[in-house]
Amino acid sequence: MTGFIIRNIVQKLFTLFVISVLSFLILHLAPGDPAQIDPMNPAITSDVVERLRESFDLDKPLPVQYVLFYQRLFTGRLTSWKDGRPVLESIWERFLNSLPLFITGTLLTWTLAFPTGIRAAVKRGGKYDRTTTFIAYFLISIPGFFLAYILIIVVVNVLQVPVIGMRTHGLTGLPAVMNRVWHLVLPSVLSATAGIAILSRYVRSQMLEVESQDYIRTARAKGLSEDVVHYKHALRNAMMPFVTMFGMLLPGLIGGSVIIERIFAWPGMGRLAYDALLARDIPVILSLNFIGAILVVTGTLVSDILCAIVDPRVSYE
């Protein structure tokens, strides 16, 4: 088992190395000098360009630049072009802001998707199944930003609560807490909708797959009640792949939130990425790309290990 984990970690580190090279190359494959990224901007004078060149060591050979860039990133000396703050510091700050959104969204996704999917599979072909199937397709197909505006119109008109931003300033005590909660509701519901739809479909098909197995027929044949067959024999085995999906949640922290965080002016990582992209703040963009990759790789590592622990059929050799 330890050998399996170590081998897996070494593999993932190599993958990460390749991605770090790739994302570094994106910058250099882009047309023009990275320091000349915004030549029309009057604020960028020749000595600013000089400073940019220096901060990226553009006068040195590419491999040296690569090493220096990641050295700066990991030692926390890499600073943003836009505000001069250390990149790691601002990413960490935004990460903490994204976290409540991410946790609420994930909890919503998992608590809603499973009962829906399981019930649809148990009542296969029935009215409930067909209704949830259509709703799931509807939610998968609706653009998140469109749904966001519909919800904003409804919530603002009907409930009269503020929804944009993270909080309303100047409140204390209970109203302040309620205010935070109201601000959290819409963005987290929105970041959960597509997940609920996709996951519940997946749970349904996984349940159906297991229900067609021979041991389910055996369980029925020996006279067990339908509930025991569904929830004890089928469900436990259908759960297997989802244990591993815990690991796949991490990457949603950055990529999935750009649009939602922009609409709700939520100062999280996605918003940081969006602002950095608009300002062509290359140190921040590259760092976010790489940190995103670290999150995905860590997620797959966790999945692999969980999978090996839960599923006895996976061999460690």
Binding site: I19, F138, I142, P143, Y149, I152, V258, L277, N289, V296
Partner: protein, 330 residues
């Protein structure tokens, strides 16, 4: 006794005509598809969307410098800004060449008085081409890469599996945004970058199919007749592996259209003044409460198109599913 029985059996089997199935697999799939009302609805919507987009290109393109297009999505009419759908045009305040087709704003106007209908028509073509070209690129890449892995195996396969793992570890949306931010936005760039970052699913399907196909007798037969690798891959194996590819491509188009709308919405889409659905929605953001049609018209349009592709794709999946075919055990 038993020997004699066996010979008659063989004899009879040789004598009797080969029994052809009542329908070809394609006919059977079509029959299954036709029973699925949601999928057929999706197909109809798709055909409608295709016709509208093509019509949109003809109606909104300036074919000749002297002759303005029938519906000009660029005409700004400040006196007529933010008009409701079906509003009449203000003949006194506007010149003749600013008149919308039919003298009526069927879908209203935006904050610059541009006709939303003509902008939607112009944007339909963008959605359609981005969907098809991006998915075309990704399917082509997926077939070639997955096919090589499944056919040759060994180190090619190991490399492809590793490459797929690496590609899946790159945060896709951020990567696409990064490329568009550094290179600058553009229709072809979007198609390429979306295609280049979405071939992994297809490659996996094709590899899995090829792994089982290459052991089949007809492939051995083709090889023993001296067919080249390329011929075996494309002529003999690929047609047998195409069903799952077709399904994932249909659903991929839905995803690509949604992705393009998201990119346009974030301002990384096709540059101005070309209209796209995502951009129309983004423009309407500031007038959400005063001019909700600017949000709802493109939003509903994207929803319908993406939904119809998803439903049609799922219908195809069922239609190609051998478990659902007639006469075979479920």
């Amino acid at each position: 006794m038993s020997e004699a029985y066996d010979t008659t059996e063989t004899y009879e089997a040789e004598q009797s005509e080969p029994v052809l199935p009542a329908r070809t697999p394609l006919q059977e799939s079509w029959r299954l598809l036709r029973q699925n009302r949601l999928a057929m609805g999706g197909l109809v919507m798709f055909v409608l969307f295709f016709v509208i987009s093509v019509a949109g290109v003809f109606l909104t393109t300036e074919w000749h410098p002297q002759r303005p297009p029938l519906m000009n999505p660029r005409t700004t009419r400040l006196p007529d800004k933010l008009r409701r759908p079906l509003a009449r045009y203000n003949a006194e305040a506007l010149r003749d060449d600013q008149r919308p087709l039919g003298g009526i704003y069927v879908l209203g106007t935006d904050s610059l008085g541009r006709d939303v209908l003509s902008r939607m028509l112009q944007g339909a073509w963008v959605s359609l081409t981005v969907g098809f070209v991006a998915v075309g690129i990704s399917v082509l890449l997926g077939i070639v890469i997955g096919g090589m892995a499944g056919y040759w195996g060994k180190w090619v396969e190991m490399f492809v599996i590793w490459l797929i793992d690496v590609m899946l570890c790159i945060p896709r949306f951020i990567l696409i945004l990064t490329v568009l931010a550094l290179w600058g936005p553009g229709l072809f760039r979007i198609m390429f970058i979306v295609g280049l970052t979405s071939w992994m699913g297809t490659a996996r399907f094709v590899r899995a199919e090829f792994l089982s196909l290459r052991e089949q007798d007809f492939v051995t037969a083709a090889r023993s007749l001296g067919a080249s690798d390329i011929r075996i891959i494309f002529r003999h194996m690929l047609p047998n592996a195409l069903a799952p590819v077709l399904v994932s491509a249909t659903i991929g188009i839905a995803g690509a259209i949604l992705l393009e709308a998201g990119l346009s919405f974030l301002g990384f889409g096709v540059p101005e003044p070309h209209a796209t659905w995502g951009k129309i929605l983004d423009d309407g953001r500031k007038y959400l409460f005063d001019a909700p049609w600017l949000t709802f018209i493109p939003g509903v349009a994207i929803l319908i198109v993406v939904l119809s592709f998803n439903l049609f794709g799922e219908g195809l999946r069922d239609a190609f599913n051998p478990k659902l075919r007639e006469g075979e055990p479920a």
